[in-house]
Symmetry: C2
Subunit: 363 residues, 2 copies
């Protein structure tokens, strides 16, 4: 069992990582004095697969447990779902010492974290990420949000959990496509901050896809460490440090939008975005050809798409220009300069962006 | 024109107070570089009375202006209204540099502040309070919230404005009952922290009700100063300091609830709550009889009720026990020990509370 502290002064909290530690969550919660009455926000699939066991474990340790089941899709990241949840919780919360457990992937984590942020101006919550992507990325760092019809994550808060409880054994609940999606974010960490991690993924991509215990533990730990360091330095994305986590996300988000959040999942879109950003970097002579190719190869090895089919380039460009990352009309990109290092640039000629986009949507 | 700084490190902001400064709001906003596109959240009455002028002034200074009109009642402090507003703003916000102006009393301020807190994880907003109560209390300090059906202010955030722009001349838009309601909070500041202010209100209660310029300026400034100091010391009500602002509010909130938010407005309920708390304090020999009577007299002089008619005592007691201020089942009261000083107590015998409640609901 390993422990990483996300250092944020009074709001610091531990990420606890360990294979098959799921049953030990009760005592861990007890030790941080989080309350007595747990509300588990999850979806139906995970309630059956993991929730029932979690409930039994918590009750054994003296907690009470109530489930709030939300739909298993991005659709549950809605303001409507938020208001349903806070109303439910309000009715339930009489003389209780409640806290929230987000049991699920990024959708559940973002939604549950936001509910915790605004109910009574903030109550305690913990993250129990069940997807690869959530374990190494979304469950850490307190970015919570839900979507509006006009755009993703437009309503939210920075609100840190009290603990992240990460069991890589839970990834056995995932299908292959979800594992691949998580690999995209793992590759991202390698490119932005950790050449050793990048090499490890190059060598062990098959073992990761096979959910090999040792390999998974290493990757989850290493990624969590990078994420927690970045968050500690720039919690609210005001110092330009947290921005590096957006490598691949500028084009990635636009691809998700144009694909209606169905054609490409988050990791697939980010994979394509990373390729686009690497090509922009290559075009500007910021990175050598070989590094650029290594990035593309490892994305291909992970079984992620390397070109976007049936995506309208012009729609993609127009969505790009609505992205939050386009500050003051400037096109902000995170660009790799070598494996393990990126820069943030806002002065990229439109022609260069256009060329990179064209290269990934062709065919 | 006077200036008070609410000191909160990076989140510090000025309260600008001046009679008939309303027209100077444009340049003041320009000076803090708040954005370009203002969204004024207000009600229909205030849009006609003040909004149209405000719009013209802002446009002259180079801002664009869009109105969001909300119903003129506590009912607009709903999650549904929040949902409507964020969706509207999301659709409007394309390549804009938006910020929010809360033009109104406590309801508009709480709602607009919460919308600003959660849209894009927080955008800039300023408070332009138009009621006595909002000018001296709710517009300062960043407590934002909306109601749930089961209770008031259950969904919200601590989120500070970038500026509070206070023009006591705007109080001319109020009816007498609203002015009296504000006086209750002014009296509260006197009791909790400022015996000079208390004496001033004793002597000048008629001039306050008559909206005398000099008298109003003094009271608004003095109250704002106390509020800002308390907020600076304990922004998120975690250090037990901000708690003193709840003098009169424990019983006050319960009275509002039992009266369905119609029988008593906030100030009237707080006035009755202050009397109840003073009597509890008297019963416990924490305050002398004369001070206790002075509190009751000044509340009566302000034209506020001193006893609650047709209120069911037992319903009141049961609502009291649901209040957020009842931490861990303990009855937390703010009790005056002399004019200008209060203590927070959680160990009050139920019989003493019962006696004080009985004394205000009798007849």
């Amino acid at each position: 069992m390993k422990r990483i502290i996300v250092k944020l002064g009074q709001r610091s909290y531990p990420i606890i990582i360990g294979y098959k530690i799921f049953s030990r969550i009760g005592p861990a919660l007890k030790s941080i004095r989080i309350g007595r009455d747990a509300i588990i926000i999850t979806n139906n699939f995970l309630k059956r697969k993991l929730g029932v066991t979690l409930k039994r474990n918590l009750e054994k340790t003296g907690f009470t447990v109530k489930f709030e089941v939300v739909p298993d899709s991005e659709k549950s990241k809605s303001t409507l779902e938020v208001f349903k949840l806070v109303n439910d919780i309000g009715k339930y919360d009489i003389k209780r010492r409640i806290f929230i457990i987000a049991l699920g992937g990024g959708v559940v984590g973002d939604l549950a974290g936001f509910v915790a942020a605004i109910y009574k101006r903030g109550i305690s919550y913990i993250q129990v990420p069940t997807t690869f992507l959530a374990q190494i990325d979304s469950a850490i760092g307190g970015k919570t949000a839900v979507d509006l019809s006009v755009g993703k994550n437009l309503v939210g808060a920075f609100y840190q959990p009290r603990m992240v409880f990460t069991d890589p054994a839970l990834l056995a609940t995932l299908d292959r496509r979800q594992v691949r999606s998580g690999m995209a974010e793992a590759i991202k960490y390698g490119v932005i901050a950790d050449s050793k991690l990048f090499e490890f993924i190059e060598k062990n991509h098959k073992a990761i896809l096979g959910l090999n215990r040792k390999v998974l533990e290493f990757v989850v730990y290493r990624c969590s460490l990078i994420k927690s360091k970045v968050v500690s330095l720039d919690e609210k994305e005001q110092r330009g440090i947290r921005t590096i986590l957006n490598y691949g996300h500028t084009v990635g988000h636009a691809l998700e939008t144009v694909g209606g959040y169905e054609k490409y999942n988050h990791g697939e879109a980010v994979g394509l975005g990373m390729i686009a950003a690497a090509r922009i970097s290559g075009e500007l002579n910021l990175i050598d050809k070989k590094s650029c190719q290594r990035i593309e190869h490892v994305i291909a090895d992970a079984g992620l798409p390397t070109s976007a089919k049936k995506i309208n380039k012009f729609r993609l460009m127009s969505v790009l220009y609505r992205d939050k990352k386009f500050v003051k009309g400037l096109t902000r990109f995170v660009l790799p300069v070598k494996i393990g290092k990126v820069v943030v640039r806002e002065d990229i000629p439109l022609s260069v962006i256009d060329k990179a986009i064209s290269s990934i949507v062709k065919k």
